[in-house]
Amino acid sequence: AQSVTQLDSQVPVFEEAPVELRCNYSSSVSVYLFWYVQYPNQGLQLLLKYLSGSTLVESINGFEAEFNKSQTSFHLRKPSVHISDTAEYFCAVMDSGAGSYQLTFGKGTKLSVIP
């Protein structure tokens, strides 16, 4: 069974500083990878996804993540964060051959952007 590790439960960072939220998954079988974001008092929203092709994927609000198969990682990065990026970020994995398309989530990383 898959497992997803988000090493940092909380990440404080100053506004306009860069940030990296780490995500590692357990299995080396073919996977799809996702980052979801949960803003305060809101539901989960998809931030970005990797299905195939280029290993670097980007979101519309400046986040990017790179799929690294050899390291089984899918770290999320942003070169300059804004106050509005304060949220909880969840990494998720789907086994592409499993058939049920369930997502396995990490425990989440709370990003706090400090003015």
Partner: protein
């Protein structure tokens, strides 16, 4: 268009009572998922429905948990004889079929269940 909706938004119940949680998926989405998020934990998969296929119940934690779905519409998650460890936010998600290759699950706002 309308997103995934869930009701109630909050539910407080006494230990031992049964509860029923409802999910309305996005119209046209054939796949529906239930997840549970306990405090400080990531989301745990509970059950998956895809069209008229048999549901994948592999994530249900005990036989006190069950779920039904009417065709490709509403789903209800029932927890019988609730226990305090059932306290969590229960999230529903829906998605298009796998043939679209989108694999994106759209989440509802969740039902916060508190068992006293």
């Amino acid at each position: 268009g309308a997103g995934v909706s869930q009701s109630p938004s909050n539910k407080v119940t006494e230990k031992g009572k049964d509860v029923e949680l409802r999910c309305d998926p996005i119209s046209g989405h054939t796949a529906l998922y239930w997840y549970r998020q306990r405090l400080g934990q990531g989301l745990e998969f509970l059950i998956y429905f895809q069209g008229n296929s048999a549901p994948d119940k592999s994530g249900l934690p005990s036989d006190r948990f069950s779920a039904e779905r009417t065709g490709e519409s509403v789903s209800t998650l029932t927890i019988q004889r609730t226990q305090q460890e059932d306290s969590a936010v229960y999230l529903c998600a829906s998605s298009l079929t796998w043939t679209t290759s989108s694999y994106e699950q759209y989440f509802g706002p969740g039902t916060r269940l508190t068992v006293t």
